[in-house]
Structures are given as structure tokens and as C-alpha cells.
């Protein structure tokens, strides 16, 4: 009797696992694309937290960079007129100008964060909050004023088209589509995660950075300039947040909407923790969050058949929209105890004998 009752449930479960797997294969490219801003945001977090500075302002840095990237590209497009996109990712001069503007915005805001949290020794979480508030205000303010004249879009970077012999390969073809059929910013996320992983654990810079993040006093005694190291890393970290911002308006989309980062900067922080402060680990966590984020769309566009389809379509769509956020909470609750942050995170550094 029990066995008979179990079989239908088991049947649906097997169907569910199969469906969840098939979503990865069919939605690979979109999952990878959605993982890019999370990865880049987490890399910004790596640069900050590995050298001992909390940065919860990544969200605001992304939002401001997304806006400035779009604004600069649009302004350049207006004054230069349309130009022939290059073969290489559809690059045009306005798009490059937008990209530079986004990077500079990330740089500038992280300079503010560095100033507040390192020099002024203000609370680092407050400093991040200030950046978030100002970013929401500034982008909302300027976007409203600009929308009156409805500026034209400068378009966006084009995705790379991987050769057919790769994507047509049996079994692994979808992997090439997932990682290679992407715009330049998305692709850079993968490359940068790997490079940063190597630099952090194999280079002199990485060793020094980790020393400053774990035990700044000891680092100082062996001649490492703690303040300078933190400044450099926090400011360079802003470039990653700027790149993440560029993803929104120059790579994935081509226009700006108020509040469009929608908490991704904070999910990036969770990816950082889940990835245990390793760049490649954070990339893996970002893929997981992006997968959860794409599930709702997948169920709407490619619903499973049979009993499973009935069950999934009965769940309200808002539940799927909330899934990445819920997953973040669950993962933080389950993982944090075992995931150890750099020891000096959140603590302003004061030279011995100062004052």
C-alpha cells in the first residue's frame, strides 16, 4: 500500500530533477549572462574584504556605473552619430566611451568608500550605505531630468558567435554555447575571476593583500604599508563594480531604468561568502544564484509536461521571482558558520603610536 502511494511522488520528483537539469542545458547562455554582474560584484567584494574592508556599497556602485555608462554612451552617440559596429563584439566608439565612463564611476565611488573607511575610519557599513543612498538619489534624479528629452540609446555590445563545430558537439556543445555565446562584459567576468584567483594565491600582491586582511599589524611589521595596500585594492575593486554596472546598460541591455540593479550587489556579497572569499568560488555561487533567477522565466516559456507542469504552474510567479533572494538567505544561514572571512574585515586600521 505504502509503496503504491510513494510511486507517484517519486515519479514527480524524478521528473523534477530531470526538468531542473534540462533548464541548465536549454538556458545555459542566459544563466551565464545573469551570473556576470553577480560575479563581478563579488570580485569587487574580494578586492575589498581580502584586504580587510567591508563593502556593502557594491549595489550603489553598480547602479551609478550602469547609469553613467548608458549616459556617456548616449551622449557620445548623439554628438558622433551612428558608426559601423566592428566585427569584434560589435564595438563602436560610443560604447567604448560608455564603458570607460562606467569604470571611472566605479573608481570614483570606491575612492569615496576608501576615504571614509580607511582614512576617516568611519564605520565601513555606514560608508557603504551612504554610497547606496547617494547612488539611488543621483541616478533617479538625473534619469528623471534626462527622460524629458528621451536621449537615444547607443545600442549594446554584440554577443560572440562561437563556431558551429563547437556548439554542435554532442553532449558538451551546450557548454560552449553557455560560456562563449556572450557579450564582452559577461565573458570578462569568467576571465577576471580566474585571473584574480591566480593573482590572489600565487603572486606577491596576493600574499600581501591577504596578510593585510588577516593580520594588518603583522603585515605592517614586515614592511607592508597597510593603508596604501587597502587604498589600492579598494579603489581597484571599484573597477569590477563599474564593469558590473556596464553589463546592465551596455552588454545585457541598452537602456537605464531606475533601480535596475534590484539588489544584485547584495546577492553578490552572498556569493562572495558562499564562495568563501575565493574568486572562482564566488563565480560558482553566482552561477547558482543566476540559475535560481532564471527558473521563473524558464517555467513560463518552456513549462514541463504532465503532473509536474500542473504543480509548477500552480505556484504563483512571484514565488519564482523571490527565489534568488530566499536562496541567498538559506545559503547564508547554512554556510556562514563554516565559512571564515578574513580576520580583519570591518576593522579600521590605526598605525601603532598614532595620535
Amino acid at each position: 500500500m505504502d509503496a503504491l502511494l510513494d510511486v507517484p511522488v517519486l515519479g514527480v520528483l524524478i521528473q523534477l530533477v530531470g526538468y531542473l537539469g534540462s533548464v541548465v542545458v536549454s538556458n545555459g547562455p542566459i544563466i551565464m549572462a545573469l551570473a556576470a554582474p553577480l560575479t563581478l560584484g563579488a570580485l569587487c567584494g574580494v578586492m575589498n574584504e581580502r584586504s580587510g574592508v567591508v563593502n556593502i556599497g557594491i549595489e550603489g556602485m553598480m547602479l551609478a556605473s550602469a547609469f553613467m555608462g548608458w549616459f556617456a554612451a548616449s551622449a557620445a552617440f548623439q554628438s558622433m552619430g551612428p558608426s559601423e559596429p566592428s566585427e569584434f563584439f560589435g564595438v563602436t566608439p560610443p560604447l567604448l566611451i560608455g564603458l570607460v565612463a562606467a569604470l571611472l564611476t566605479g573608481l570614483l565611488l570606491s575612492l569615496v568608500h576608501a576615504l571614509l573607511s580607511i582614512s576617516v575610519r568611519a564605520d565601513q557599513i555606514i560608508s557603504g550605505t551612504i554610497i547606496n543612498i547617494v547612488a539611488v538619489g543621483l541616478t533617479g534624479y538625473l534619469n528623471l531630468l534626462l527622460s524629458k528629452s528621451s536621449p537615444p540609446t547607443a545600442g549594446k555590445f554584440e554577443a560572440f558567435v562561437p563556431p558551429h563545430f563547437l556548439t554542435d558537439l554532442p553532449v558538451v556543445g551546450w557548454l560552449f554555447r553557455m560560456f562563449l555565446a556572450q557579450g564582452p562584459v559577461t565573458m570578462s567576468a569568467i576571465v577576471l575571476a580566474v585571473i584574480l584567483q591566480i593573482l590572489l594565491f600565487r603572486s606577491r600582491w596576493g600574499l600581501r593583500t591577504r596578510a593585510v586582511g588577516e593580520h594588518p599589524r603583522a603585515a605592517e611589521t614586515v614592511g607592508i604599508n597597510v593603508i596604501a595596500t587597502r587604498y589600492r585594492n579598494v579603489i581597484l575593486g571599484g573597477l569590477f563594480a563599474g564593469l558590473a554596472g556596464a553589463w546592465f546598460t551596455l552588454d545585457f541591455g541598452n537602456s537605464f531604468q531606475t533601480g535596475m540593479t534590484n539588489g544584485r550587489g547584495f546577492i553578490a556579497l552572498a556569493a562572495l561568502i558562499f564562495g568563501r572569499w575565493h574568486p572562482v568560488g564566488a563565480f560558482g555561487a553566482a552561477i547558482l544564484f543566476a540559475y535560481a533567477g532564471s527558473l521563473g522565466t524558464a517555467i513560463r516559456t518552456l513549462p514541463p509536461t504532465g503532473q509536474l507542469g500542473d504543480i509548477l504552474s500552480a505556484i504563483p510567479p512571484q514565488a519564482f521571482s523571490a527565489l534568488p533572494y530566499l536562496l541567498t538567505i538559506v545559503i547564508l544561514a547554512g554556510v556562514v558558520g563554516r565559512s571564515v572571512p578574513p580576520a580583519a574585515v570591518g576593522r579600521p586600521y590605526e598605525k601603532e603610536g598614532a595620535h
Binding site: 567591508v54 547584495f266 544561514a333 578574513p342
Partner: protein, 374 residues
Amino acid sequence: MRRRIVAPLILPASALFLALITGAVFIVLSSPLVEGHFDFGLPLKAYGALISGSLLSTNGWIDTLVNASPLMLAGLSVAICFKAGLFNIGATGQTLIGALAAAAAGAVLAAQPAPIAIIGALLAGLVAGMLYGFIPGALKAFTGAHEVVTTIMLNYVATYLIAWAITGPLLAPGASFARTSDVGAAALPSLLGPTGHHLHAGVLIALATIPIAWWILNRSTVGFEVRTVGANPDAARYAGMRPRLLTVGTFAVGGGLAGLAGTIEILGVSGYMPAAYATNIGFDAITVALIGRANPFGVLFGALLLGALRAGAASMQIQAGIPVEMIDILQGVMLFYLSADVIVRRIFRLRKVEGGVDELATVSRSYGGQTTAP
């Protein structure tokens, strides 16, 4: 008198002054977008409209009070969490959930006698907010998940929960857009009678909460324990206090206060809740708590200041064409100067005054896991 009331106001006042100047520079720089040419008089016009819309008329004062009331409650929520060494960025979510529960309870009790309907709806909002604050508190106390990330995630979850509830089970029948039914008898009465701007009774609730919170924090045993946990969780444990319980309890009470903020907005101002209900109260509340240095009476001051800015923002947008987002910018810049008090003190040649919230050190340290999970 001078030392206790005037001294704590010097730093916020200086920060506000610097923020207004910074904002003025920004308005001039953006004036070509507003009027098509550079206009050096625009900041005066904008700030003039801001002040006349908030402080220069009876209706302006009423709007200021009505805007300040939820900020007092949500600001207290953030402030008491600060005192326990906790950073509540989740006041937005707790406010939303409180508002949703109050709207639902109000819709159900709409035909009951007013006292029953009002008390029922108030309690619903309070309890729902407490439950929503309990979640990050429990997560922090028992799993160590830092509240900075979990509360923000819960804010997003709350918006989706509301979108689902109001387009689904709570949808008012026959409404032209997605909203809950009217709260009817649960609506908070007006203090000035039916004429004039609507000064609802929720203002009294908010004002009464301030001294109560001050007394509990500074004169009661529980308040002492909360402050001890905030100042030094390890010492609190050695002294026999229960940091986990205090963390969960403080977060639940904080959530309840934020829930009340949403409740008086629904019962006092709109009378129903639309599915698209959105609020940015969480960041405002942080600003208020920081201006008030996490002291309840400081929160009152901060909430009145921000309430006045919010009340005047509409006339600033109408009369000077400056979008209301200017208030967010002013707020962020003011917080910048409050945090960088070294800079402010140098500009105004002020002596060292207590400027910050000391317990914040615990918040940041716990993020890095340096205080063992409470």
C-alpha cells in the same frame, strides 16, 4: 540644558548646512537639464519651495508631522537595533509586511465598531512586523548569518509577497486597479476634525513611542542588557546575560516598530494598500537613527528634519522642477558629513563632540566574524 540639548545638535546641523551647500552646487550644475540654461538662482528657488511647503504654513506643518511619524517609528526600529549592535537594513520589508497585515485586518474588520477595528488592525501590523523582524534576528543568533545581507534579501522577498497577496487573496473585488479593500472603520481618526489636512491619530502613537523607547533603553533592566550586548557581546555573556535571546528579542521589537510605521501609513493616510505599494523608508530610517545618534529623542529630531524635507519635496518639484530624488541626495551627503565628522569639525572649528553611534563597531566586527555568534 545647553550641554544636553544643544551640543548633540551642533554636528547634525553643521552636516545639514554642508549638505545643503553641496546640494546647491549640484542643482546649479544640473540646471541646464531643468531649465535649458545655467541658473545660479535655482537653488534658492528650490530650497525656498522646500521650506514653504513644509514649515511656512499650517498645512505644511501637518504634512511634516504626518511624514515624520512613520520615520520616528522606523527610525526607532533602527536605533534600538544599533543599541544592541545590530544593523537593521530591513525596516523597508518590516514596514511593508506590517502595512500588508494592517490592510488585510482592516479590510476584514471594516464593518466592526471603530475601537475594535482600529485596535485589531494596529495589533495585526505590529505582530506581523515583529514576526518579520524575528527572522533575521533568529538567523543571526542561531546560524550567524549577518543581518546586513539577510534583511536586504527579506526586503525584496516582502515586495514579491505583497505583489502576490494583493493580486491574489487580498484583491478588492471590483477595484479598477490591484488593491486591497478599504479599511473602513479601522481608519485612524483625524485629530483636527474633518476639515484641513489630515492629521491622523497615528502621529500620537509615534510621538508616544519616543519617551517609552527612551525609558526602556535607558532606565530598565532589559534596556541595560541590550546596551551591554551592543557594547560588548562577550562581556554580556560573562555577566550572565543571554545575547542570543536579546538579539532575537531586539530584532523582533524593531520589526514591530517598523511594522507600526507601515500600519499608520495604511490606516492613517491611504486607507487601503495597492499592489504597487513601494517605500524607501528603510534608508530614511537609517538616516534618522544616525542623525539622532540612536537616542530616541535624537530620533525625534531626525524624523522631524527628514519629515520636513519629504513634506516640502513635492512643492520643490512643482515650483522649481527639481525631482524629489534631491532629498535622497541631500540625505546621503548629510550622512557623509556626519560620518566624516573629522572633516566637519575642521571646517567649523568644532571641538571633539560625541558624534557617532559607538555600538556600530560591534556591527562591523560581527560582519567579519570577530565576535562569536551571539
